[in-house]
Each structure stands twice: as C-alpha cells, then as structure tokens.
Symmetry: C2
Subunit: 152 residues, 2 copies
DNA sequence: ATAATTTATGTTATGTTATAACATTACAAT
DNA sequence: ATTGTAATGTTATAACATAACATAAATTAT
C-alpha cells in the first residue's frame, strides 16, 4: 500500500485545526503532538510508542495517562481511530466526514488503509436492522496482505 | 436478546467433542472446562474470569498461561472467538461451519449474538478485492443495543 | 516393555496495555 | 480576588497477556 503524501498530511492537520477552532475544541500542545505523531506515521502506532516519542520531543518523561487522555480526545472527535485487533492507533484522513471507519491492515508491511465504503456501511446497517439491533459503534478490521506484499 | 437453550448448548458441546474426536484434537480436561465456561455463559467472558472459575472448579489456583493456552486451542479450532473490542471471549454455536464470524454485542445486557450473514461476508470480500487486498481474518464487532434493551 | 519424542501442563516471573485517584496548573468568568 | 472549569502532572495499580523453563502425561518407534 502506498503511504500518504506530504500534502495530504498537511491538509489533514489543517482540517483538524479548523474543526477544533470552529467547534471550540482545545487542541492543546500535547494533543497536537500526539495527533501529529499518529497521523505522520503511516502505520498504526501503539500508546507506549507515542509515550516514548512525546517524552523525547519534550525532553522530559511523560506518563501513560497523558497519552491516553490525548488519544481519548482525538478519538472522541474523530481525528484518530483505535484498531482493537492490534491495540494501536491510526490517524483519520477525513475527520468528521464519517463516524464509522473500516480498515484494511497489512500484516506484512503493517500499513493500513481507511476504507469507508458506503455499500459496506449499508450492508452492516441492514444486518443490524434485520436483527432488531441499534448500532452505536462498529469495529471492522480486515487483516491480510496488500497488493505489494502479496506479490513479493 | 434471548440466551441459548439448554438443548442448543448440549448439541454444541457434543459437536465440538465429535470434531475433536474425528480430527484427533486433544480435548483435554482443562480445554473442555474452559470451553464449557465460555459456551455456557451467554455473555462474553474475560480471561481472568475464566481463571477464577477454573480455580474454583478444581479447588486449586490456576495460572494465566493455563487459561490462555486453552483459549488459543479453542480459537485455533474455531470453537470460540475473541471479541477484540472488549477483550472477551465467546463460544461459537456453529463450530467449523465457518471461519469468520461477526458479532452484535449489546452494551446494556451484554448478551452477544453471532451473525454469519453471507451477504455481509460477500460485501466485505468485495471491498477487499476492490482494494487488491487478500484477507486473512476479519474482525467485525457491532456494539449497540438489542431490541429488548432499546425498548426499556 | 522401554526409550525417545511429542504434546500438554505447571510455575515463576515479567511484559504490555490501560485507568483510578488525587494534586496542580492555567486560564476564564464573575 | 475568588471561584469555576478544563487540562495536565504524578503516583500507583489494575487488567490483559506472554516468555521461559520445568515437569508430566501420552504417543510412537525400537
């Protein structure tokens, strides 16, 4: 899978800033740092990796709650997502555009891909309705191999 | 959501026994105990809950590896599934009938429902193909409220 | 039968992921 | 100035999971 371009990255960071500004969400220094660490990585990042990076950036040890709080903020506002199957976090490249987001995760190169297929969303929705079930959130994580890696 | 009947339960346990017998899989005492704990519960069970129950049953303390090994065996053979979004395990009521299994999990009553909808499976499959992606395993966990709980 | 091999379990320790609880700071509103 | 609120710092620990090595039990080969 290909990783994101610098311009996409910039645009996404900018969009998050805009969303925060217009919704009066405090995008504090730490929250911004954590977001940038996550979004700039094209692979899922673990909380304790973020912790190390934050500690390095600021030249002082940070603690788990600091990181988890920032992550919570970012998830709540749809700027990052958690991949439950691998206890890792990924940035969202179309923040606020959708609540749910599905993922393809390559086991080999570890690069992930967001995939917000409407027909898939519909299908899940129909399945829920068919079971008289009201969805509050959906975890869909597809693990496997991307084109590049399956060709190697 | 309604919980499973005793006869369904018996049938499932019997089926697992048969599968083990015909495939020469060692359904040892511990593995059987862990399986029964998981399948008899109509809610997802946590590993350390199983640990407590096993310790009680056998009147001696068990240790985490014992439980996790049994769980691994049961997952490998498709007798139980892990719900990554809540770090819990659930029994499978149609072992070996399918590799993938999707879940509806009620946040209120905590009862889960397996849902092996073929059209959903197809849709996921198509999404993967469309992204040139080869699936090895899929996590689909839909959290929300079941009919009973959303009416309350 | 018995030695060798494999499969499963016991045991200790530790690694990894996440949160509770309470103190402190920063900044805004009255 | 004082109170309120939102965010962060700090310590400790809870919750989830596995590594590594020892032992035992079952299987197979001789």
């Amino acid at each position: 899978m290909k990783s994101k371009s610098t311009s996409e990255l910039k645009a996404t960071i900018h969009k998050v800033e805009e969303i925060c500004k217009s919704n009066k969400l405090g995008l504090t220094e730490i929250r911004r740092q954590v977001f940038e660490i996550i979004i700039k990585n094209n692979k899922p990042v673990k909380a304790y990796e973020i912790l190390d990076k934050i500690s390095n950036i600021n030249n002082k040890p940070s603690h788990p709650p600091t990181v988890y709080r920032a992550i919570d903020f970012l998830i709540e506002n749809g700027f990052v997502h958690k991949l439950n199957s691998i206890n890792s976090f990924v940035g969202c490249f179309h923040p606020k555009a959708h609540k749910e987001c599905y993922f393809l995760i390559c086991k080999k190169c570890n690069i992930y891909q967001e995939c917000c297929d409407d027909s898939l969303k519909d299908r899940i929705s129909k399945t829920a309705i068919h079971n008289n079930f009201v969805i509050s959130n959906t975890t869909l994580e597809i693990e496997g191999h991307c084109l590049d890696c399956s060709q190697k």
